[in-house]
Subunit: 405 residues, 2 copies
């Protein structure tokens, strides 16, 4: 076993993988060469530490630190290595690197866990390629079935199953199964960069999650009639871009009024020509709310306003919920146990995470957040100070020590 | 010389080239295999008719019917073979096929022109690949310089000059030069499917153009701040999608109020991820107006409203006019001469055409329109009845006979 590199060295290793020299942002879509390189790096780190790597047929990995006398249900920690398009360095990788660094910290201290500790990496957490967030953990836990995944394609039309089949997966892929994992661990702790400014406001480098807001992705297909942009009289048009535009503004206004979140960040226009009225505009609404009732009411109101406008534009609206996640209340006792010792604040989050999927699958789950000075995430400007990252590693190590003793 | 096929046969030849089996629309972007196939088909038709093919270095073609005794400045007719994305069958090809069919009609009647007749095909009329409409005729006439064309790229980043270099051009490309052509012809007549319903309202199968409205393409770059769609508070955002959406609605409203035309049919979002507030939205405004003053006022008002909204959104707006074409008044005497004999109505058009570029370059120019029952164009639903198309061929043949006698 080679000497384990420290947090900073691991961070430097990952830094160049999938980074755009133009924007400084990351493009680590699942099963692309950049993401597979990051996955290989992780396996190498596991080998260097003598961790026992298990993987499922989709590339989800759990690497075990399981000393000879370790027994009983242990603890799982980790995150993901994929990114949104042009994303930040921290969302995902910080949890993976911190998990490895926490193992190093515990070993340096001479700690030997009485229960196994697993370090996990789940694939396609962001849903940036196949459209379904937390796809890896969904497939592992059965929240999404293989049959459902068969229909998923990326923007180029590549099927998820084909991308998996062509990707280089860890040797022995298929050994990892949810039924076994569920017996091997008593809880999951995911460390993540904060994606807001709650910890800045509270002046704390680390916090613990209370719950994930319910959230969903909703595809809006606005249908109209393609026509010449010059010769078609304004009053003869059925322009779906107008219906889309009004829906964008309506979603924003409704979210502001109700204190919830609504975003149209992705749009696909056909034929997308300068001199043609579009025949179709497809757009995705990302909506989040403090309760499932609030979420349903928000989306229903946006849909109502979209239909009202479509009536004026002579266009059509078809709404398809692509993924809707109910509220995830993390294990309160576990959160109290983690936060209690050091007095870390307990805060809610509006972002979905694999932790939410594992929690919904019945595994007691907690999350640690590391302060983000600007709150910016899903952007090249995403950041965390090294000092705060190291505080996160310390908090995670302390948590693992407590839970695996 | 093999017997010349009739209009219907030529139309059938062209029909499958570049047609989407999904939409029934056409994808004949310049220098793609579909468009090159159509170009080859045209050259074959010219060879079959014994026409003398000349071409320039960009693939613009003029094929000459020049009997031994023909002399003096003749007449040029033709159109283009490229299409918008998912376009119709008639926009462009109808003028090319009708030109060949008109030559056949005249020969069948035993007419021998006293002056040369040229049949032309100009490349990239739609600007659907490289963004600049009438690029072929612009380059031929010098309205756009080679240096300006060097910066043009398609959506994949392919440079125009590289696409030309890799395309199969007619043998002897480079023989065609504007200075020569300008001396060889006294006028240009382009036949085109109508892109509105003026001829339907007037109950006429054929009409003659009076003028082309001034029009332009304006790129709007809306800049904001990428961020997480879930965790970023609505009030902390700088979301350029909101500024874009308001600008779409403002452009539509201004055009409606002023009786002009404004369309946002093309948009490009970065990073275009469902769960990310975009950092940038780029969109193209197609605007047309009855006068250059009206056009300038329309665009200025849209820009003012975009900036006003950007102030609220904390975003930025950069407006770049990519191409602005002044009004083209076609040769009034020529139009009267063409329309006079058969009493065809004389109507304006809001669509740009190569005829507008040649007219601006000083060549007396006219256009014939063929009735379009729905007025729909730039769409798979674009249509003209065969009877009307044949009336168009007859009108063009009569015009050529008159002008080349």
């Amino acid at each position: 076993m080679s000497p384990s590199p420290d947090f900073t060295q691991m961070w430097r290793d990952l830094e160049p993988l999938g980074r755009s020299s133009a924007s400084g942002g990351y493009f680590r879509q699942p099963f692309t060469s950049a993401e597979r390189e990051a996955a290989s790096w992780f396996l190498e780190q596991c080998r260097d530490r003598g961790l026992d790597v298990t993987a499922d047929e989709y590339g989800n990995v759990v690497a075990w630190w399981r000393p000879e006398n370790a027994s009983g249900a242990g603890v799982l920690t980790g995150s993901h290595l994929d990114s949104v398009l042009d994303g930040g360095a921290y969302d995902g990788p910080l949890g993976v690197v911190s998990a490895l660094a926490a193992v190093d910290v515990l070993r340096d201290r001479g700690f030997t866990p009485a229960r196994p500790i697993g370090v996990s990496v789940f694939v396609e957490e962001e849903g940036s390629r196949f459209g379904l967030a937390c796809l890896g953990s969904r497939l592992l836990t059965g929240a999404t079935t293989v049959e459902q995944a068969r229909d998923l394609r990326d923007r180029d039309g590549v099927f998820f199953v084909d991308a998996v089949a062509e990707a280089e997966l860890p040797a022995g892929a298929g050994r990892l199964r949810w039924a076994d994992l569920r017996e091997q661990v008593a809880c999951f702790v995911e460390l993540h960069v904060e994606q807001g400014r709650d910890l800045v406001d509270r002046d704390a480098p680390v916090g613990v999650a209370s719950a994930i807001w319910p959230h969903g992705r909703y595809r809006f297909d606005f249908g109209g009639e393609a026509n010449h942009a010059g010769t078609t009289r304004m009053e003869d048009r059925h322009d779906p871009m107008l219906t889309y535009a009004m829906t964008v503004l309506a979603a924003n206004k409704q979210a502001r009024l109700s204190g919830q979140r609504a975003t149209f960040g992705r749009v696909d226009v056909h034929p997308n020509g300068t001199n043609a009225v579009p025949s179709r505009v497809t757009a995705w609404l990302d909506a989040r709310a403090e309760s499932e009732e609030h979420l349903a009411a928000l989306v229903a109101e946006v849909e109502r306003l979209a239909r009202e406008r479509a009536g004026l534009d002579g266009t059509s609206v078809v709404l398809t919920p692509e993924s809707v996640s109910p509220e995830v209340a993390f294990d309160a006792d576990l959160a109290k146990r983690i936060a209690g010792a050091d007095g870390w604040p307990v805060i809610p989050t509006m972002a979905g995470h694999d932790a939410g999927i594992l929690s919904a699958a019945g595994l007691p789950t907690a999350m640690l957040f590391v302060r983000n000075p600007t709150g910016i995430s899903h952007s090249p400007a995403e950041h965390a100070e090294t000092g705060d990252c190291l505080a996160g590693v310390e908090a995670l190590a302390a948590t693992l020590e407590r839970l695996a003793s």
